[in-house]
Structure formats: C-alpha cells, structure tokens
Amino acid sequence: MNPRRFQSRLRAVATTLAVALTLTLAAAGGCDSRKEPDLPSVREKLRETHIYGQSKLRIGVATDEPLMGDLRNGQHVGFDVEIGRYVAASLGYEGDQRLEFVSVATEDRIPALQGGMVDLVVSSFSITEERKKLVSFAGPYFVTTQEVMVTTRLKDKIHTIEDLRDPAYKICTSGGSTTEAELEKRQVKALVVKDVADCVEGIREGRYDAVSSDETILAGFLASYPKEFEIVDLPFGTSELLGIGVPIGDPALRDLVAFILQKSYQQGRDGQASPWQTAYNRTLGPWLRAEKRQPQPLDVPKLVDFDDKAPSK
C-alpha cells in the first residue's frame, strides 16, 4: 500500500476515534451532571434528624459553671452556651424565639438526653467509652485537663496527688463526672456533691478544702473569686475531651453537629475568625493559663453544603 495513503487512512481512523471519544465523554459528562450527588447534603441529613420540623431546639447547659455555662441576669452565657448557639444557628435555629436553653445538672445530662428533655447537651460533657454506650458524642470541641482548685491559704500545702489522699483535707467533686471516677481510681477519697458550684460554695463556707474538676470549670470559679482560690497543677495525666451530647438514636444529628464543628475548625485553621475562636476569646481565653486551640473533631462525615464552592482562602 502507498505509505502516503496509509498515513491518510490512519489519520482518518484517528480522527474518527477522537470524534467518537469526545462525543462519548461529553455524553457521560452530561449524564453525570444530572445525576443525584453521591454525597449526602446537610439538608438531607437534617431531614433525617429528629429535630427536623421542630419549632424550637432545646439545648441542655449548665447554669452554675461560670465561663462555661452560667445564668447572668436571666441570660445564658459562657463558652458552652456560645458553642451551643453556633451549632443551633448552623442547624437553622437562631434567635431566642427558636432556641431554648434548658438547665441540666452534671448528673442529669445523660437522663435528659435519654428522656428527650433536650435535643443536645453542651455542658462540659467529657467523651468516655462508658458514656458512649448511652449517648452519642460529636466533637471534641475542647480538650481540657483535670485540675484541683484550693483556697489561697492551702496553695502551698497541696502540690501532689499524695497530698490529696491526706485525710486532713476534704476534697469535693461533682457526682457523675469523670473527675469522680479519676479520683476514685487514684484512691483519693472525695466528697461527692451535685455540682462543682456546691463544692465552691462549701469551700467558701469552710466545709471543704479543695475541689477537683475540669480546668475549664475551675477557671470559671477562679474568675468569679480571683482572690479566694488558686488552681494547682497536678499531674493527673488524663485529658478530658469535651463533646456535644446527642441522643444515641439520632446518628444523623450527631453527624451534622460533628460536621458543623469541623466547619469551625477548618475556618480557624485557614486563619479566619472561627465561631469557636470568638467564643473562646470572649469567655475562657483570658482565664486559662495556656492558649488553647480548637481540637479537630472526630468521625466527621463527608457532607456537601451550599457554601462548599466558596473560595477556601
């Protein structure tokens, strides 16, 4: 065969193939653009939750933990409250008309979720394996450590866990908290009361000598009575991961809350002012000894949302 002719034939075949492939790709692209998205969207997830269509969102918060969850002049304030507000707004519940804060004691956090009294709990709720069997957690949204707060007069006397075991000192903690379990594990005999606030009140009245709890909660009381107390840095060695409690029967809501926390985490990482950072700066920030950052939430689902197309920087 004439090589020139052969070349021209080859070329014609290549062109045919190229045309056919281009058309196929275009058709495939066209079909793909009309298909339902593979990833679930925030809106779809929201439809699966038990709060969909609910006129109000009820969030369980503490009302006696200064800086975290407190009631001041009838207004809920604190870091947990602000995080709760952010999550609620992202779920479509903004403003007092649509958001209800329910006061929940430390020991009532799980029953409140189980009994449907609240839709979410944002109240210094540490994530533990035990609790995970009863409720779901989204987060962590804060990592804190266990500390001990003593009256100023004892600040030179209590330095170690050994000192806490001394029967001369009465250690107080709140019931149903991770601190209670941790103290028990370390053979520290503690007097268990309902809330940390009761411990603080007790110390001020002379009934107890020290209170052990999360650093965040103690920082709140320190902020309230800066001259009366001192936080002692004890090597408990365990970190507390604070999470948002969600009813165990509502995995969609858990996913959504985790996704919302992740959004804030992403914003903070990109150097923008994240809702978390704003809440932190307004509440805990000035009172903690070390600067904290938002921890990366765990088990975050992949969801698509309307603002996904916005530039990341």
Partner: protein, 381 residues
C-alpha cells in the same frame, strides 16, 4: 410557507421578469443599464427543478434563513420564558396569570438568559464543531450523495466570529470540569491541525508534549484529589480531551460521515430537549425565606419566591405550592437562600476554583468571597 410557489418573491427587489429573459440566459436584457449586474441566479432555476419541489434563489434563501434565525432568536426565549412561568406557578392558571402580571418581560428574558446561556453555548459549540468536521470530510462522501450534512451547511454559512463568540460564551459559562472538552471542540471547529504548530515533525511533537505537560502541571493537584476520591469520570474528563484535540482535526472516512451526521443531528436535538427541561423548571424569581409573625408573638418561616410587594401585602409564591398574601406589617425578616439544585456534586477544586463553577461564577466568588448560608434557610418549607 415552503409551498410558496415562486422564486420571484413579492417583497424582494424586482428582478427582470422571467418570461422576458431571452433564450440566451447570459445576455443582458435590453434596456438594462450595462454597469448594473442582473439579479439572475447563478444557476437556472425552473428548468432543473424536480417535480413538486421548488428550488430557492440563493439570495432569497439566505434572506429567509436570516428571517427564521431572528424569529428563533426572539421567539424561542419568549416561548421558553412563558413556559417557565407556567411551570413556576405549579401549573395553576391563576398563579400563572399573577406571575405574568408581575414579572416584567425584561426581567423574564434576563432571567432566562442567565440560566440558558450554558445550554445555548453548548448547542452552538456542538453544532459548529461537528459541522466543521463533517464539512471538511464532505468531499469524501460516497458518490451519488448530493446534499452535504445539515451541520456542515450550517457551519459553512456561519461567520467565523459567531463561532468564536459561541466558544467564548462556553468558556465563560461552562463548569470548569467540562472546559477541557472545549479544547477538542475548538480544534475541530477551526480544523487546527498539529501541522500548524510547526512545519517540521520533531519540533511539532516537542511543542505538543510541552503544551500537554503544562496542562498536566496546572491540573496535577486536582488530578491527585480526583484519584484519591475515586472520581474516575472527572479524571477522564480532565485528562482525555487534550489528547483527543491532537487527533481530532481532519477528514473522516467516507463511510462514517453519513451515519455520524444523522446520529449527531438526533443526539444534539435530544440533548437540547433534555437539557431544556431543567432550564424551564429553574425558578424565575429568587428563593427567599420570610419570617412572619406579630410583634411579640410566635414567628413562622415562609419559604418561597416573592412575587411582589405593595403597601398592604407581600405576595409570596410558596416553595411547596400556593400563593400566600402576607401583610407587610407582619414581615419580620427576609433572607435570600440557595436552592437545592445549587448543591455541589463534587469536592474538587482547580487552584481553589470549584470544578462545578464556571469561570464567571468562580471570579464572582472571589469578588464576594464570604457566603454563609443563613440559619433561616435551613428551616423546612
């Protein structure tokens, strides 16, 4: 219209009466100014016409084509817009009439063009690219084939600037993900063979390799993400088209032309109809959520499109259907919300431009980067 029996159109400049044409068709009729050409068609008309079929004078044919073109340009959007109103109203006559009464024609047309520019440019690009490929292959048609394929004829009569403008429109309105397909289409439409790059073989190959490498380098991060996310179609849509662009220019084998012409004509038509459905069903009015409630009392979110507002009422076409007249005094707040069709389908970016954004949209997002969906938009309708 096609049964108009004569080539001597009533409105056209009067050519010399056919009956008066002397047997010698090339001769200038008596009394005709010597410098003025006779408006005689290049080929005789009546004597070669098939029975029952009238052949048109090319000039008149062009005039008619232009007339139909402009009719289509004005008519199609108008008809589509009215159809859209009907769909938007949920098929209710009274609601349609309410919309007709309140949506201005200019708004309607602008709204239509905003949503239809992508469809329009896709249709044009497809026709011109296929037309050019078929046109360059037309001389290889099997003997005895008289008519050139339709798209080839369209591509022949279209000025280059129209083709270029269609490609520009596509470049601005297509999602970035599909832009690579524009490359083989462009090469095909203008029949840019690789030989144009350089007359010698080796530099030509090197140039092509360099161009492809540059393209690959530009898209490498996206390709990596697409592989990680197992988005094989995206991968194919980005990688394959530039390679095809190297081979796409040139004539097709004779035997392929006719089937290709027929299949693509049907396919393009089907594509236009198929793609027109979402254009018709895209809302004409923006989606809002209006918070309604008496001062101090409970509030309610009304999700829908605001048709009009006067001193007394705000008229809202609810998303779930039905029209609601809300007294203006009760309106507490109103926010603009995205619709579900705007949800992205992929999680890929090309240098921070989302792959489903067009260049225009991507640039827009850079001008107004912050977009947070308002809490009220999450509220159920």
């Amino acid at each position: 219209m096609s049964t108009a029996p004569t080539a001597i159109g009533g409105d056209s400049p009067v050519p010399p009466p056919r009956a008066a044409v002397p047997p010698d068709a090339g001769a200038v009729p008596a009394g005709w100014p010597a410098a003025v050409p006779v408006a005689e068609p290049a080929e005789p008309i009546a004597d070669r016409a098939e029975p029952g079929r009238v052949r048109w004078d090319p000039a008149e044919r062009r005039a008619r084509a232009s007339q139909s073109f402009w009719t289509a340009v004005v008519g199609v959007p108008a008809i589509f817009s009215v159809l859209r109103l009907g769909v938007e109203a949920g098929g209710e006559l009274q609601t349609t009439l309410l919309l007709v009464a309140n949506v201005g024609p200019v708004n309607l047309l602008a709204g239509f063009l905003t949503t239809a520019a992508r469809l329009l440019s896709t249709g044009l690009v497809a026709v011109f690219a296929l037309g050019a490929v078929l046109a360059v292959s037309a001389d290889r048609l099997p003997p005895g084939t008289r008519r050139r394929p339709l798209f080839a004829r369209w591509a022949d009569v279209t000025p280059a600037w129209v083709v270029l403008a269609s490609f520009l429109l596509a470049l601005l309105t297509w999602p970035l993900l599909y832009l690579p397909l524009l490359l083989p289409a462009f090469v095909a439409a203008f029949q840019l063979r690789p030989e144009r790059l350089h007359e010698r073989h080796l530099p030509r190959v090197l140039l092509i390799v360099a161009l492809l490498a540059g393209y690959g380098w530009l898209l490498l991060p996206t390709l990596r993400d697409a592989t990680a996310q197992r988005e094989w179609l995206v991968l194919a849509l980005v990688v394959v088209p530039p390679l095809l662009a190297v081979f796409i220019a040139g004539p097709l084998p004779g035997m392929v032309i006719r089937p290709l012409a027929t299949v693509t004509e049907v396919a393009v038509l089907a594509m236009l109809v198929w793609a027109a459905v979402p254009v018709i069903s895209t809302p004409v009015l923006p989606l809002t959520v209006t918070t309604v409630g008496a001062p101090g009392g409970p509030t309610e979110d009304v999700r829908g499109h605001v048709i009009t507002t006067d001193d007394v009422n705000m008229v809202i076409l609810q998303e779930r259907g039905g029209v609601r007249y809300v007294p203006v005094d009760l309106v507490r707040a109103q926010v603009l919300c995205p619709s579900e069709e705007e949800l992205p389908r992929h999680r890929l970016r090309i240098h921070d431009f989302h792959v489903e954004d067009s260049l225009l949209e991507g640039m827009g997002r850079r001008v107004r980067p912050v977009h947070r969906i308002d809490a009220a938009c999450r509220a159920p309708g």
